[in-house]
Symmetry: none
Subunit: 203 residues, 4 copies
DNA sequence: CATGAATGAGTCTTCATTCAT
DNA sequence: TATGAATGAAGACTCATTCAT
């Protein structure tokens, strides 16, 4: 499973070359995971890999190209890990999403460091980001607990519910707020809230 | 509502100072929104603001500090905009989340550019990121449509459902995969999936 | 006489700035004169000028831009030095070119080092270049001496004639060979040779 | 006519070797002609030649050596092409320079790209250079036209005259300004101008 | 002879930050 | 407060050359 398509003009032609490229890839994954893209440097990556600086460019066109290769690779691996959990498991289609989610969570846990590059915001912002989301989740959890106390829920409320709802909200914001502003926000909110309501609320 | 807490040692003492700081803040919002944190430069921000380079440090300790101030500001404004939608609206607690979500989506739409700084990943990665998430959402949508075709759903399936589920998954990955690895992934997946199942599936 | 047009966004606004820029310009002239463009480095120029590396970019957009500024400056100065020698000297128009040429030669002699950057070929090629041109001039001189010996000349033949003829040939080659290939070479050669013939040969 | 002297320790011993070297030479000529010396790279030359990078050093000691070989080769070829035009053509010695010049111009025209490496200045400077010389030629042409209008010329003035005079001036500057500063500039100017005067002006 | 991986010094350029005026 | 010049560490990338296979 090479992150680099074999058609790449820079793909290694000898076994030795293949080893070097792999070393570079691994070093980069570690480095990016620790420091994020911008704070990682090519020098540092090559020295981690035990390779000369110049050799980097034998295998990758640029720092950006390496990053893209890594993300693409990760993306393919998530897919590969999740797919089998879904197929032929004898469950209903929607229920089958549960093992898929389990598989996904397991994958993320295994590739923690690298995964945060894809899904967290700018590294500098991480503190602010954490505060922001923990605050949001806490608020939602408070609301749900309130509903629970009022006897309005059909399931015991859990932190998982709060984060699930917040993730939902954030992604809908990104999708229908940032990326595409054509759809009515009320419409979107209605559909999403209905799902949560039926999923959690009593009767 | 100043973005800078009044206790800040660098908060302006004169009216003129206040105007300068506000200009800097606005310029920064625009700049960060366009280029992301790392590709924005202090020179460019000051020149946008029509202010001398040196003056920047009269108002902000560093580029990082400015960024944090901006995120904090944004965070507070989201809260302020969402809060009233929730209070005293005579709806049940969970149903009240619907206007809250509407308000949130509206806010994001108004502050598109800036908002992506908080919620999108590294700027370089955006293309990869987009492909990654659009792919994920498409996969989920396909699954839900399958369930719908099989007559297993209680509501008409919409793209909103797919993005909602994916946001949920991603955030749970971040929360229980990256940040905290103590909780059983199966447990988390079970709770989340149950919510979706009940929210979408037929009785 | 600044080499940088005052409209340049990077032109210095303070006296101190003006001094720094001048130092950079002078250092660059020396450096380029010694090593040619490619072998000169910005680090070395700034250190000659006693200025920090970064300061270079306060005054010049790039190494290329500096070079262009220098050439333009030199170009203007030649013109300024040659012009007065031509005007109002009471000589016929063509005869007036003689003091102009004197002035030009004097200028070149004063700015030797820098001047060779404009008019010599690639630095690496200089040795080959010298051999090439000295050989050419020697050949021409030989021919002219032959004519002289045969009594066909109206003036004593001098090395100057040989170099003059060669310069003529080379420039016609550049102008009507390299830059513009439309004109008949025989035509060009006829005109040029006629001039030399009448200028040197016995009636 | 090999560009490499047969004594060269790296001259090829087999037919195959000779082909490889020739391919390298041709590729280099193309490359240098397009990009100039510094912007040409050994990798690019070898890849143009369809030869492995390492093989370059089997045939040439260095990039510089290759360049010198090329210039020397070109130099010899100019000589070879010009020589026959001069010999035994039954013209007077000076008149015989006319077909020589024709031959030279023809050669340049055929080898345009490569020729500019020898005779043009640093590649970066070319724009400045062009402006510089075109300006100079225009000035001279203006002067000559003035003389023509005043009835002081014996031949119709042509652009060729202007470029010829300018080439003359520039080369005299190089020869007696840059390379050798011992001779009186007035003396040089007198000799050269006399030639032009008699060549162009009315008796 | 051919190959192509490895090397690392060297280059230009950027930019947050400091400081004298 | 405002200004803008000065700083220099840091970064990405290039490329001639060497060398093991």
């Amino acid at each position: 499973m090479s992150a680099i398509s074999p058609a790449d003009p820079r793909s290694p032609r000898t076994e030795r070359g293949r080893r070097t490229q792999r070393a570079l890839l691994d070093a980069a994954a570690a480095e990016f995971g620790e420091k994020g893209f911008h704070d990682s440097s090519v020098v540092s990556i090559t020295s981690r890999a035990g390779v000369a600086l110049g050799s980097f460019y034998t295998y990758f066109e640029s720092k950006d190209a390496l990053f893209r290769a890594l993300v693409e690779d990760l993306s393919n691996r998530v897919r590969d890990q999740v797919a089998p959990a879904v197929e032929n498991n004898g469950l209903g289609v929607i229920a089958a999403e549960q093992p898929a989610l389990s598989a996904f969570l397991g994958f993320v846990r295994e590739h923690k460091e690298l995964y945060r590059i894809i899904d967290e915001a700018e590294f500098v912002a991480n503190d602010a980001w954490r505060t922001h989301y923990f605050g949001g989740a806490a608020r939602i959890l408070g609301r749900l607990k309130l509903a629970e106390a009022a006897g309005d829920t059909s399931v015991p409320i859990d932190e998982v519910h709060a984060w699930a709802v917040m993730g939902m909200n954030v992604f809908l914001g990104l999708r229908f707020g940032v990326m595409d502003a054509d759809r009515s926000v009320d419409d979107v909110a209605e559909i999403a809230n209905a799902m949560v309501r039926r999923g959690i609320a009593r009767g």
